[in-house]
């Protein structure tokens, strides 16, 4: 009476990937459609008011504005996938160039935050769970609860007030580096943005880890391990933790995803030459190709990260791996 499945893991994987691609496709459509709705003639915006009609027409043709919308979309998509993200309406250079440099800066930020903030949140989450309801736990939980609510720009400005301008003057308030230069030229300016993001990211990760660890510690198999007379250390490390990994991975993935957006505001606050700041500038300048490119890239990042998270979660759970 049972159905025969071929490798269920592969099927699951393929399913998720297809879903991710679908999401990306929809996102690209939404982005494209949204930017096409921008009032005003894109060509005229580039060329200026006083231009001659034929120059206008030539530009229109070049930008494919004379074609039906669907065709425009298809052309844009094709170009995008082959590495051509169009030309910036602001400085006439290929979008890819400026995006490239900014991406590496933002990535640096991301790595720094993930490498320091996440292990911190995880460790504290485990500690809070193991010492549940004691002072360590209650104080950490209250702090996390308070921090969770505050918007990132408030945290950022708050830190600036504290460390750069009003209270103390240890650190530079803004990052005075030309876009395109490496952020490591002045490493000090990395500190505040990274700190802001760590604070912003901490509460959610901490609470997730704590909750899932508590779930595991309350489980019947941990009780059984205690009744078997195993050492506390062995119970926490061998019996409890492996079962708390899946939710941990989820939390990390969600954090990375969040950072894709969080970096926008934070970079703006600190004038950090990353992709977030680039996006804000592009939005203000109505630089359509730039906006399209960045938004799709960020969405792709988000989707990939979530996909990896799902994958790892599956691999880590023996039940799902074998799918008996």
């Amino acid at each position: 009476m049972r159905r025969v499945d071929q490798n269920p893991l592969a099927r699951l994987l393929v399913q998720r990937i297809l879903l991710g691609l679908l999401s990306l496709l929809l996102v690209s459509i939404v982005v494209f459609a949204a930017t096409q709705l921008l009032p005003g003639d894109a060509a005229r915006a580039v060329v200026g008011r006083g231009a001659a009609q034929d120059r206008l027409d030539a530009l229109r043709h070049q930008l494919h504005l004379d074609l039906p919308v669907v065709t425009q979309y298809w052309l844009w998509l094709r170009d995008f996938l082959t590495g051509d993200a169009g030309t910036s309406l602001v400085n006439g250079k290929p979008v890819i160039e400026s995006v490239g440099a900014r991406i590496s800066n933002s990535f640096t930020l991301l790595i720094l935050v993930v490498a320091t903030g996440i292990p911190l949140a995880i460790t504290l989450g485990i500690v809070a769970a193991v010492r549940r309801d004691r002072r360590v736990d209650t104080s950490l939980s209250v702090i996390a609860l308070a921090l969770a609510a505050i918007p990132e720009f408030v945290i950022g400005i708050g830190l600036i007030v504290l460390f750069a301008t009003v209270v103390l003057h240890w650190l530079p308030p803004v990052s005075m580096v030309r876009p395109g230069a490496s952020v490591f030229a002045r490493p000090l300016m990395l500190i505040l943005p990274v700190l802001t993001l760590i604070i912003a990211v901490f509460p959610y990760t901490f609470r997730m880890i704590r909750a899932s660890m508590i779930d595991v510690l309350d489980s019947e198999y941990v009780e059984m391990a205690t009744l078997k007379g195993l050492t506390r250390r062995r119970i926490v490390l061998l019996h409890a933790l492996p079962n708390a990994i899946a939710p941990t991975i989820q939390a990390i993935a969600l954090t990375c995803g969040y950072l894709a957006g969080g970096c926008v505001v934070v970079e703006y606050v600190f004038g950090f030459p990353g992709i977030g700041q680039g996006l804000v500038s592009a939005v203000i300048a109505r630089d359509i190709p730039y906006i399209q490119c960045v938004v799709v890239l960020l969405a792709a990042f988000y989707v990939v990260v979530n996909l990896l998270a799902d994958l790892v979660a599956i691999l880590v759970t023996p039940k799902l791996r074998r799918a008996t």
Partner: protein, 291 residues
């Protein structure tokens, strides 16, 4: 409601209520107490606190105190509207997905997943840059961000409740589906939804203040906390107050609403668990054979 005694016992509940009352009063009653107009230039820019302007002047020489007192209620109003709209939409979608299941469920959830596939601030940037910083648009966008998350919570809760036998009983006696949703299901999913609504409100405030900060929300010269923070950054060294006070107020507001939502949630869940208290512990329970 037996909710209140338990709630009042919690320290964080009392603290957050006090906090919020102060901030709410500032926001709502503040405008009536402003000593000067929020638009008039009363002195040189970035003057320190003095007799005419207790918190000094801002980047254009306007009274900081007045602008602060008048700069909060819009955020609250928009946040409340956006939350209400988003929660309502989310509940409807989530309950529909959880009760009807099947294709409807798949479609709804996939669409919502697409929305969730985006860091929200970026979508907000996108739409505002297209249409412009119009209040109703902001409310719509923020509501649109809340709906998927609320729908998720509503759907999960609905799925749980739908499996319960009292809903099945309603099905056997042929109760109309709509009545089942309203009478049987909804009262039993309210608890997680209330908590979620509280959290969404906090997030609304944060998002709207953030948009204002980026210049994509309330436009100058209208006084607004988020906007003020950005406007007056340049003069932080000279007169920090136009930046520091709004920062504190926004922080306190969001912390307060978060603590409150959490305390309510804790009280409500404690109540829920209490109603299942007479269920014997599993190992003392007699055999429950899975038929």
């Amino acid at each position: 409601m037996t909710l209140w005694p338990r709630y009042l016992r919690s320290g964080s509940a009392i603290f957050s209520t006090v906090l919020l009352t102060i901030v709410f009063l500032t926001t709502i009653i503040g405008p009536f107490f402003a000593p000067a107009s929020s638009l008039d230039f009363i002195g040189a820019p970035f003057q320190g606190p003095n007799a005419h302007a207790w918190l000094g002047t801002d980047v254009l020489g306007r009274d900081v105190l007045s602008r602060i007192l008048q700069g909060g209620y819009r955020i609250l109003g928009l946040a409340a509207a956006a939350t209400a709209l988003g929660v309502l939409a989310g509940i409807l979608l989530g309950m529909a997905a959880g009760y009807i299941k099947g294709a409807v469920d798949e479609i709804i959830m996939r669409l919502l997943d697409v929305v969730l596939a985006f860091p929200q601030i970026i979508l907000a940037l996108l739409f505002v840059s297209i249409i412009g910083p119009v209040p109703w648009l902001i409310v719509l966008i923020v509501a649109g961000f809340h709906a998927p998350q609320v729908a998720r919570v509503a759907r999960a809760a609905t799925l749980r409740v739908v499996e319960e036998d009292y809903v099945r009983f309603a099905e056997t006696i042929g109760m109309p589906r709509l009545r089942i949703l309203v009478q049987e299901i909804f009262p039993n999913i309210m608890t997680p939804l209330i908590v979620e609504a509280g959290l969404r409100f906090t997030y609304s405030i944060a998002l709207i203040a953030g948009l204002n900060f980026l210049g994509l929300g309330t436009q100058p010269p209208i006084p607004d906390w988020g906007l003020m923070i950005n406007e007056n950054r340049i003069g932080m060294a000279t007169n920090p107050w136009p930046v520091v006070v709004p920062v504190l107020l926004i922080a306190l507001l969001t912390i307060g609403t978060n603590l409150l939502a959490d305390a309510i949630g804790r009280a409500a869940f404690g109540l829920d668990r209490g109603s299942r208290e007479t269920q014997p512990a599993s190992s003392d329970e007699t055999a429950t054979v899975q038929a």
